[in-house]
Amino acid sequence: MQVKEYKPLIVAFCCNWCSYAGADLAGNNRLNYPADVKIIRVPCSCRVNPMFILRAFQRGADGVILCGCHPGDCHYTSGNYFTRRRMAMLFSMLDFLGIERERTRVEWVSAAEGAKFAATMNDFVTQVAALGENKRLEDLRCKK
C-alpha cells in the first residue's frame, strides 16, 4: 500500500490590484503550482488582519502567505508599507512564541509577475511541506 503523500494546506492572501492579477497571469501562462495553495482576494494587503492569519492557522492551515504590490506600487499608495511593518512584527512575535518562521511569508508580486507568483508558491509549498503538519498553532477541535 502506498503511503498517502503529505499535502500542506496553504492560505494565500492576495491584493486585488497586483498579486491577484499576478496569480491570474500565472494561470494565463499555464504556470503550474501545487493545488495546496488557496487564494483569498483582498482589496489591499493592508486589509489583512493578523486575526485572519491566526484563524487560518487555528483552523489547520500549515502555512500562510501574504502577497501585495511591490513597495512604492501600492494601488492605495501606502497600504503595503503598513502591511510590511505589521507583518514583520506579527511574524516576529510568532517566532518568539516558537512557531516555525518558515510557515509565514510576505512576498511582493506585481501584476506582471505571473512567473514569480508560480515560483513563489512552489517554493513556499516545498518549504512548508518540509516542516510537516502545523501542530503548534492548530486548534484540535477544528481538525477533522
Binding site: 493578523p50 491566526l54 506579527l90 511574524f91 516576529s92 512575535m93 518568539f96 477541535r141
Partner: protein, 332 residues
C-alpha cells in the same frame, strides 16, 4: 519605603478638595489585607483621612480609571500618578480617551512597588500585616512571634526592578523630586528567550500560557485596552471567546491582545502584576517594543501626547518581514 508620605498626599488632596479645585480624588484604599490595595474615589476629606493609603503596594495605575470616571463623575478629578502611570496618561490623551480639562494630575515620586509573592516567598503564608513605613518592610505573620524584616530591594516587582523611568511626563503639579529616564535592563529577559531554540521557546510559552484561565484581568487592567467593546466580547469579530477551550485559544488571545496594544503599550507592567497565574505577559508586549525600537527607531508610547506609533507610520526603507529575522540571527 516611599519617600513621599501618605500624610503629604492626604494634606494636598484635602487642600484641593477644600478650595474647590477638585471634586473627587482618585486614590488607593485599604483592602482586606495591607497588601491588597484597591483603587477608590474619595469625594470628601473625612473619607480621605479614613481610607486613603499610600505604601509599597500601591501599584495600581490610575490612568485607565480616568476613562470611565471622567464620564461618570461630575466635576474635576484629582489623580495621583507615579512616573510610569504618566506615560499611560499621555497615551490615553493621544487617543482622546478622556477629557484633560476634567483632570488635575499630581505627579508623585515612586521608589518601586513590592511584589507580595516575593514577600510570601521569604516570609511564608499567614501574613497578617505589613508595615511599610521603615527602611525595610516589617512583616507580621500569624505563624511568627516577631515581625520579619525584609529588604525592599529584595521584593520589588519585576517592572520596578527594570524601571524605565522615574521622570513624570505629564502632570499639573509635582510633589517631591523629579527623577530621570533610566537605562533599564528591561529587554534582557526578552533577549534570553530570543536566544533559545524555537522548540525551547515553544515549550516555554506553552508552559506559561497553558496556565491562563482567561480571567481577562490583564485586559481589564491594561490602560491600552479601553475599547468600548473588546473584540473578544464581540460576536461579529470572529474571535469572540470567553474561556480557553484548548492550547491554542489562549495563545490567540494573548497574541491578538499584544498586537492590539503594540505601539500603544507604555510597558507599565500592569498585565503581569494582576495575572493570578503569574504569567509574564509583559514579555509579549516588550517583545513588540524591542522589535519596533530595533527596526523602526526608539519609540516610547506616551512620552508625548499626539505621537504616531510605529505601526501607524512607515518609511520607504523599512525592513522586509523576512529581513527582520535576518538582522543578526536571533537563533544563532
Amino acid at each position: 519605603m516611599q519617600k513621599i508620605t501618605k500624610e503629604q498626599l492626604i494634606e494636598r488632596a484635602s487642600a484641593l478638595l477644600r478650595d474647590g479645585t477638585v471634586n473627587h480624588v482618585l486614590g488607593w484604599a485599604q483592602g482586606e489585607f495591607d497588601y491588597d490595595i484597591t483603587p477608590a474615589v474619595f469625594s470628601d476629606e473625612s473619607s480621605l483621612t479614613g481610607n486613603f493609603v499610600w505604601n509599597d503596594f500601591c501599584g495600581a495605575n490610575f490612568s485607565k480609571y480616568l476613562v470611565s470616571k471622567c464620564r461618570t463623575l461630575e466635576g474635576k478629578i484629582l489623580v495621583f500618578l507615579k512616573p510610569c502611570d504618566t506615560y499611560s496618561f499621555n497615551q490615553l490623551l493621544t487617543e482622546h480617551r478622556f477629557d484633560r480639562e476634567k483632570v488635575y494630575a499630581i505627579g508623585i515620586p515612586c521608589e518601586g512597588m513590592a511584589d507580595i509573592d516575593k514577600v510570601k516567598a521569604i516570609c511564608g503564608d499567614g501574613i497578617s500585616s505589613i508595615d511599610c513605613s521603615g527602611e525595610k518592610l516589617s512583616v507580621t505573620s500569624i505563624y511568627e512571634d516577631s515581625p520579619i524584616s525584609v529588604n525592599t530591594a529584595d521584593v520589588l516587582t519585576e517592572r520596578c526592578v527594570n524601571c524605565k523611568s522615574k521622570k513624570h511626563v505629564a502632570y499639573d503639579e509635582l510633589l517631591g523630586d523629579e527623577g530621570d529616564i533610566l537605562d533599564s535592563a528591561r529587554f534582557d529577559e526578552v533577549a534570553k528567550i530570543e536566544a533559545m531554540t524555537p522548540d525551547e521557546r515553544f515549550a516555554f510559552w506553552q508552559n506559561e500560557l497553558s496556565r491562563c484561565i482567561r480571567c481577562n484581568a490583564c485586559r481589564d487592567v491594561c490602560p491600552a485596552c479601553t475599547c468600548e467593546v473588546c473584540v473578544f466580547n464581540n460576536p461579529k469579530s470572529g474571535v469572540e471567546n470567553k474561556a480557553p477551550a484548548n492550547s491554542f485559544e489562549e495563545k490567540m488571545f494573548h497574541i491578538i491582545r499584544a498586537f492590539h496594544v503594540a505601539g500603544r503599550c507604555t510597558d507599565c507592567g500592569e498585565c503581569s502584576r494582576v495575572c493570578p497565574q503569574n504569567i509574564p505577559l509583559h514579555l509579549l508586549n516588550r517583545k513588540f517594543i524591542k522589535e519596533m525600537n530595533e527596526c523602526y527607531g526608539e519609540y516610547q508610547a506616551g512620552e508625548t501626547v499626539g505621537s504616531k506609533s510605529p505601526l501607524t507610520d512607515y518609511t520607504l526603507e523599512d525592513l522586509e518581514p523576512g529581513e527582520v529575522f535576518d538582522r543578526g540571527d536571533i537563533n544563532a
